[in-house]
């Protein structure tokens, strides 16, 4: 700490308690033996067993994963293209509208995006006969649309930080612009693309509002299933499901953190060794 401030320290403790007490409480109560989810009745893992016996949950989870992987992949391609367009092509017709289009879905209230997608799909069915029924395809399309702009934001900001001189060097050495993009730009921004994919994946996996508007009968994603369960009140099996989610995400993030940290440490050490070798 540069300057120790008791006030800031207290606020941070309070803030992190605020973040984690509800989650910890939820984890604890997932091991509750009692039927009533908020009163402690002894330790048990029966809700986990129950959860894995529930086909509905497993099917919903599989559907959610399928949609998330598919939509995140498309969103990453489209989002990266948009990020490249915004960062590297300074002038093209309709640029203002384009930059508006990639920011608007970021902050648009989900209800509006949801209702407009729904009406759009209904009208589309009316006009061209497709989609006859809403479901997997419509949900995926909607997810691609609103998660690609997150990828764009990440890629765009990475590209504005990147050194253009490297690309110019490649062009100077005879590469055509698209070869520069393939050989130089994309490898440089690949970490940003990866984190864009992860973000798009998470957003899709987590979405309730837009999915609820654009899905049809028989296509219940995991969030929709939880939503319908939770509307009826607090139940121990949702606690168990939540605990699993938190653990999977937590472990994933921690592993990613350790890997990134180690990579950074190694880079620092290498740089230091190289520096010392030069002395």
């Amino acid at each position: 700490m540069r300057r120790r401030s008791r006030f800031l320290f207290t606020m941070m403790c309070f803030g992190f308690a605020f973040f984690y007490v509800p989650i910890l409480s939820m984890i604890v109560f997932s091991f509750n033996n009692a039927r009533l989810a908020t009163v402690w009745g002894g330790f048990s893992t029966k809700w986990y067993v129950k959860l894995f016996e529930n086909d509905q949950v497993i099917n919903a989870a599989i559907l959610s994963l399928k949609i998330a992987v598919l939509s995140a992949s498309f969103a990453t391609i489209l989002g990266t293209m948009a990020g490249l367009a915004l960062a590297r092509f300074k002038v093209f017709r309709g640029r203002t509208l384009f930059s508006g289009l990639v920011t608007a879905p970021l902050i648009m209230p989900e209800v509006i995006t949801g209702i407009s997608s729904l009406i759009f799909f209904i009208m589309l069915a009316e006009w061209v006969g497709w989609p006859a029924q809403r479901g997997f395809a419509t949900v995926t399309l909607a997810h691609i649309t609103f998660s690609m702009v997150f990828v764009t934001t990440i890629v765009h900001s990475r590209l504005t930080e990147a050194d253009v001189a490297v690309e110019e060097a490649a062009m100077d050495l005879g590469s055509r612009p698209w070869q520069v993009m393939r050989d130089i730009t994309l490898p440089i921004i690949s970490p940003a693309i990866l984190s864009g994919w992860l973000l798009a994946f998470t957003i899709s996996l987590d979405d309730v509002v837009i999915t609820s508007f654009t899905t049809g009968p028989g296509n219940t994603t995991l969030p929709l299933l939880i939503w319908s369960k939770v509307k009826l009140g607090v139940t121990p099996d949702v606690n168990a499901l939540a605990t699993i989610t938190v653990c999977v995400v937590g472990i994933g993030v921690i592993i990613a953190g350790i890997v990134l940290n180690a990579a950074e440490k190694r880079r620092e050490r290498d740089a230091q060794l190289a520096y010392q070798a030069n002395l």
């Binding site: 908020t38 367009a85 607090v234």
Partner: protein, 323 residues
């Protein structure tokens, strides 16, 4: 060259055509494709649906399927829906409830988030990475489950409620004693859970802004005789306004259209605007009204949204201008 002439005129033309395509791709094609693909996608799947909603809001409701019609027996632009929107107190109340809840939540987020973001810039680098990860971690877990976690805490029989109740009973005279505090299904619950869910959106832009501030400015102010709190008021606070605006809008805009939080922990008799849109569409099958409410919400948020875009663009510009 010699190879070309040896293979005859037919292949030459073909090669020329191919090289023409290649030349187009090298010169313009690749950039046109890079721009046009996402552009078209967003036009079709984002802008067009949105324009349809605007059109729908001036259509006339009919008992057909789909339940609306343009023109024909009805006026092409029917403003009756909007007239109803502004005269029926149900809609006005819903707007007021939404904005009030969102504003409270934004303010509380700033109150909690600012010191946290500032604290993050003051800890050592290794701690900073860990704490940042702890801020982002809940953001990666399901939004729905974060709301759900509070449902478990706020229920009348929960340990948290009991704790608060006994604390309240200890401080208040006996005749005011309560058996439990009604937290679920209140606007308070909506604000609390909104703060909880959107706090990272406040902390992260603020942190990004505060982290970039030049610490020597603080030292300069201190050197010129300002005490630490004065330094904060004179230097840190004014320079973090873009961060405050960005964070505030990132909380306020989605919070005012929030559907899940009021649906799970809010007061059902005081619906927020998201619920109204959903109900008009699904239960009342009044598509023009659902569209009109959505358009009205958007108009209300247009100024804050443009503000955000403006500040965002300015930040990008600044970043690009730096050497």
């Amino acid at each position: 060259m010699t190879e070309l002439s040896a293979t005859g005129p037919k292949t030459t033309r073909k090669a020329a055509r191919r090289s023409g395509l290649a030349r187009w791709f090298n010169r313009r094609g690749w950039s046109d494709i890079t721009i046009a693909t996402p552009y078209l996608w967003l036009l079709i799947f984002f802008l067009v649906p949105f324009l349809i909603v605007i059109a729908m809001s001036v259509a006339t409701r009919t008992p057909t399927s789909p339940p609306f019609s343009f023109g024909g027996d009805h006026p092409l632009i029917n403003t009756a829906t909007y007239e109803r929107l502004f005269s029926d107190s149900l809609y006005i109340r819903a707007f007021l409830t939404s904005i009030r809840n969102a504003a409270f939540a934004t303010f509380l987020c700033l109150l909690i988030g600012y010191p946290m973001a500032l604290g993050l810039t003051r800890v050592s680098k290794s701690w900073r990475n860990i704490l940042l990860m702890l801020v982002i971690l809940p953001f990666w877990t399901s939004f729905l489950l974060r709301v759900y976690a509070w449902m478990g805490l706020m229920g009348n029989n929960s340990w948290f409620n009991k704790l608060l109740t006994s604390a309240y009973n200890m401080m208040m005279p006996e005749e005011w004693a309560l058996r439990s505090i009604q937290m679920m299904n209140t606007n308070f619950a909506v604000v609390l859970v909104t703060v909880y869910s959107y706090l990272p959106f406040m902390i992260l832009p603020l942190y990004a802004n505060l982290e970039k501030l030049d610490m020597t400015l603080n030292e300069a102010a201190e050197d010129l005789g300002s005490r630490p709190f004065r330094v904060f008021l004179d230097v840190t606070l004014p320079l973090s306004v873009p961060g405050i605006v960005a964070g505030g809008l990132l909380v306020f805009i989605p919070a005012s259209g929030e559907l899940i939080i009021p649906g799970l922990v809010g007061n059902p008799s005081q619906p927020m605007i998201g619920r109204v849109i959903q109900d008009e569409f699904a239960s009342a099958r009044d598509w023009p009204m659902a569209s009109a409410v959505a358009v009205a919400l958007l108009l209300l948020l247009v100024v804050p949204m443009m503000l955000y875009t403006y500040f965002d663009a300015k930040a990008h510009e600044k970043k690009a201008m730096e050497p």
